[in-house]
C-alpha cells in the first residue's frame, strides 16, 4: 500500500478522486482496444472500438484535470504512461482480462451502468469542472449501457451455450462489484464537500438497473461477495501490471517519443 505516498506531495482527496474516475475509463478503454481486429463481426469491432475511444476521451479530460490539481507540471500523457500499477486507482473490475465476447460485454454493462449513475449525479457536483466532464461523458455512456445491455439480453436469453457463458462471466465478475459501493476517506471527503455522490446511493441505483437487465436476460444475480477489492486504493489484481507493460512500453522504452 505505497500508493498514496507515491502519488505526490500535497496530493489531496480531490486529486485522488479524479484519478479514480480517470483510471477507470482509461483502463477499460485500453481493454476494449484489445478487441480491435478480434471481435466476432466487423460491426462489433467498430462498436467496441467506438466505446474504447469514448472512454479514452473521458480519461484524457479527467487526467488533464488531475494533472492540474497535482500541480507538478505533469501532463495527461505522463499520468497515463509513466505511473506504475500501484499508482493507478481504477476499479478492479475494469482491469479484468477480456475473456470471450460475452465476458467483455458483461464487464462493460457492469461498469457502464455504474458510470451512468455516477455521471448523472456528478452533473450537479460542486466541482464545476467535474460537472462539465460528466455532462459530456453522460451522453456516450447512455449508449454504452444500451449497447451492452442489449447484448447481455441477447446472449443471456439466447442459446443454451450463450446463456451458460454469460452466466459464468457474471458469476466470475460479480465479486469485483463489491467495490462499487465501498467508501473510504477519499469518498467521504468528496461527499462532504458536495463534489461526489455517496457510493452507497450509486450502488443502489446501479443495482436496480442491473437487476432489470438480468431479469430480461434470464440471468441469475450472483450473491454479493464480502471480499474487499481495492483497485481504487491502488491495490490491484495481477492483470493490471501486464496490461500496463504493454500500454506503457513505447513511452518507457523511448521516453518523450511523439508521433
Amino acid at each position: 500500500m505505497s500508493a498514496q505516498s507515491d502519488l505526490a506531495p500535497g496530493a489531496d482527496a480531490r486529486l485522488h478522486y479524479v484519478l479514480r474516475l480517470a483510471d477507470t475509463s482509461l483502463i477499460l478503454g485500453q481493454r476494449l482496444g484489445e478487441w480491435i481486429g478480434h471481435a466476432p463481426a466487423l460491426e462489433e469491432d467498430l462498436g467496441l472500438a467506438n466505446i474504447a475511444l469514448d472512454l479514452i476521451g473521458q480519461a484524457r479530460l479527467l487526467l488533464s484535470y488531475a494533472a492540474e490539481l497535482e500541480g507538478r507540471g505533469r501532463c495527461e500523457d505522463e499520468l497515463a504512461f509513466l505511473r506504475d500499477a500501484s499508482e493507478f486507482f481504477n476499479l478492479t473490475l475494469v482491469e479484468q482480462p477480456n475473456g470471450d465476447f460475452g465476458y467483455s460485454i458483461v464487464r462493460q454493462l457492469l461498469v457502464a451502468a455504474f458510470q451512468l449513475e455516477l455521471y448523472e449525479a456528478l452533473q450537479t457536483s460542486a466541482d464545476r469542472r467535474l460537472a462539465e466532464i460528466a455532462a459530456t461523458a453522460l451522453k456516450e455512456t447512455r449508449y454504452h449501457v444500451r449497447y451492452s445491455a442489449s447484448w447481455v439480453v441477447r446472449l443471456g436469453d439466447g442459446t443454451a451455450e450463450s446463456h451458460a457463458r454469460v452466466q459464468a462471466a457474471l458469476d466470475e465478475l460479480w465479486p469485483f462489484t463489491g467495490e462499487l459501493g465501498a467508501e473510504d476517506a477519499v469518498d467521504a471527503a468528496m461527499v462532504a464537500a458536495g463534489i461526489a455522490p455517496s457510493a452507497a446511493s450509486l450502488k443502489a441505483r446501479w443495482s436496480a438497473r442491473i437487476d432489470a437487465v438480468l431479469v430480461e436476460a434470464t440471468l441469475r444475480r450472483p450473491s454479493d461477495s464480502i471480499y474487499p477489492w481495492l483497485g481504487k486504493r491502488g491495490v490491484h489484481t495481477e492483470h493490471l501490471g501486464y496490461m500496463l507493460a504493454e500500454m506503457q512500453f513505447l513511452q518507457r522504452a523511448y521516453p518523450g517519443a511523439e508521433w
Binding site: P40, A41, L42, G47, N50
Partner: protein, 95 residues
Amino acid sequence: MTTPDWPLFEVFIRSRSGLEHKHVGSLHAVDARMALEHARDVYTRRLEGVSIWVARSSDITASDPLDADAFFEPARDKVYRHPTFYPIPEEVKNL
C-alpha cells in the same frame, strides 16, 4: 474475424442539413434493433447524420438490369421532358 451468418441490412442516413434519407451502405445484424446500433457505430462516427433508417436487404425489390432497355431506354429520346426549353426571365436567379 469471421463474419457470422447474419442477414444483410441496407442503411439510410439523413444528414444534419438534409431533407431525405440517403442510402449509405449495408451491414450485417441479427435484427433491426441491432442493425440500428451497428449503423450508428459504422456510419455516423463523423457526425454524418441525425436520423437512421435500416431495412432488410431482402425486403427491397430491385429492378432487373436485364429489364434496363424496357425500363429506361424509352425515356432517352424524350428530351422535351426536361425543363430546358423555356426562356428563363432575367429576374430569376439560381434556377
